[in-house]
């Protein structure tokens, strides 16, 4: 009665056909549906086609699968149960989950405690740590030195000449040939490849980096020079530089 032309039924009762085929209808339902098939050509055609498909699959099963023996399943009982299928987490997190069970309240409570603990640790850490104040080279401490130039450890040549002339016996290495560079003892410590030694050149006084009191003299008379060992190792560069600036400024 309700056939849409390609052998499939538009009838509402067509959806019951699988139950009829697989014999899952009650006796009463089966009789009623059989009565309907005799009156509905669409459902009858659908029943025929679906039964044919069902029997074909059954035949495939019987001919290709039924004769096969069940494979021997080998389970590695000795091995630890772990995540192989990507569905299990069996690490420490899983242990915690098992410990907590499925209680959502417990899990939320645990989460809040963890957050509070992290916040407490952060608070303690902030209050305990003392950040050392780094003395910096301020413009005020050496008004004659341009800030930008000071930042690059450079001083105008004129200032150097004046101050060197005024401090003939001061410690430290002042390269009078170099127009703008001032070398401190610490600088040579950080310069790569020098290994703490510098070749003395004309007009330059070498500092005894070995601390044995002997200094090389390249030009001019020998002087008693301070050893770098006299300088505390924990002094930082900027502090030394500012001291130098103060001395120069004075």
């Amino acid at each position: 009665m309700m056939n849409n032309g390609n052998g499939t039924s538009a009838c509402n009762r067509a959806s019951e056909i699988p139950e009829y085929i697989y014999q899952e209808l009650t006796d009463r339902g089966r009789v009623e549906l059989e009565r309907h098939f005799s009156a509905c050509a669409g459902c009858a055609a659908e029943l025929k086609g679906m039964t044919n498909a069902h029997l074909a699959v059954m035949q495939w099963r019987d001919e290709s699968f039924a004769g096969l023996s069940t494979p021997k399943i080998v389970i590695p009982f000795g091995e630890n149960q772990s995540d192989q299928a990507g569905t299990v987490n069996s690490g420490w997190l899983d242990s915690i989950h098992r410990l907590l069970g499925n209680s959502t309240a417990l899990q939320w409570g645990g989460g809040l405690v963890a957050v509070a603990a992290v916040a407490l640790i952060a608070f303690i850490a902030v209050n305990m740590i003392r950040v050392p104040v780094q003395p910096s080279v301020a413009k005020e401490s050496s008004p004659r030195v341009d800030g930008a130039v000071a930042g690059r450890n450079e001083i105008p040549q004129q200032v150097i000449n004046e101050n060197v002339a005024r401090l003939p016996d001061e410690a430290g290495v002042v390269d009078t040939r170099s127009p703008t560079k001032v070398s401190t003892g610490l600088r040579s410590r950080s310069s790569g490849g020098s290994n703490g030694r510098r070749s003395p050149r004309s007009g330059q006084v070498a500092v005894d980096l070995n601390g044995n009191g002997r200094a090389k003299k390249s030009n001019g008379s020998a002087r008693k020079l301070p050893s770098l060992n006299d300088v505390a190792d924990d002094d930082d560069n900027s502090l030394r530089l500012s001291d130098l600036f103060e001395e120069i400024g004075s």
Binding site: E19, I21, G49, Q59, E63, S64, F65, G67, P71, I75
Partner: protein, 192 residues
């Protein structure tokens, strides 16, 4: 020893103290899971591997089993995932499942010894067409028709195993049979 226990009790036992209880689960389900894998994959060798891997995965994931779910549902889900992974892997290797023929025919189709050589050949061809038609179904429809035909589960059992409403199972089976029917009619497969 384990005969009177339900699947869920066996799993509980296997998780807590006795891994051998899982052996009973395997014995109860190995044939059905193998059938499911065979129907899903259409090849004996791959079905065996998928079933083996499914049980190993289930064993290794025992701790993840939710007590409120059914063991059948859990095992089917793992097995179907294994089958889909196998199929994807095969596609990646450019081994066409639907269109491959020669190599797999001999392994997949076991002809009845009662048939004459001519009938045997016809039967093999017909069964191969059915296998291709089933394999051409969408995975969700294929799974349901395989569970129905190969595992011979009732609608209610399928519904519980897939955690799906009964009406949805019926509707999907109806669609699967309808699509299968059309595919088979296109290739003129008739049951003899």
């Amino acid at each position: 020893m384990f005969i009177n226990l339900t699947d869920e009790q066996l799993v509980e036992l296997a998780v807590s103290q006795d891994p051998d209880a899982f052996g009973e689960i395997v014995r109860r389900w190995e044939r059905k899971i193998f059938a499911l894998c065979f129907g899903m994959l259409g090849r004996e060798d791959e079905a065996k591997d998928a079933a083996q891997e499914a049980f190993i995965s289930a064993y290794k994931g025992l701790a993840s089993f939710r007590g409120d779910a059914k063991v059948s549902s859990w095992l089917h889900r793992i097995a179907v995932n294994k089958c889909l992974t196998t199929k994807r892997r095969s596609k990646t290797r450019n081994e066409e499942f639907i269109d491959d023929d020669e190599a797999s025919d001999a392994k997949t189709l076991v002809a009845s010894p009662k048939l004459s050589p001519l009938r045997t050949t016809e039967s093999l061809e017909r069964m191969d067409l059915v296998r291709r038609a089933v394999n051409a179904l969408p995975a969700d429809l294929r799974q349901i028709i395989v569970m129905k035909e190969f595992e011979e589960m009732t609608f209610q059992e399928i519904s519980e195993a897939l955690e799906m409403p009964l009406s949805t199972v019926k509707s999907k089976l109806y669609t699967a049979l309808k699509q299968l029917r059309m595919k088979l009619e296109r290739t003129s497969v008739e049951v003899v």
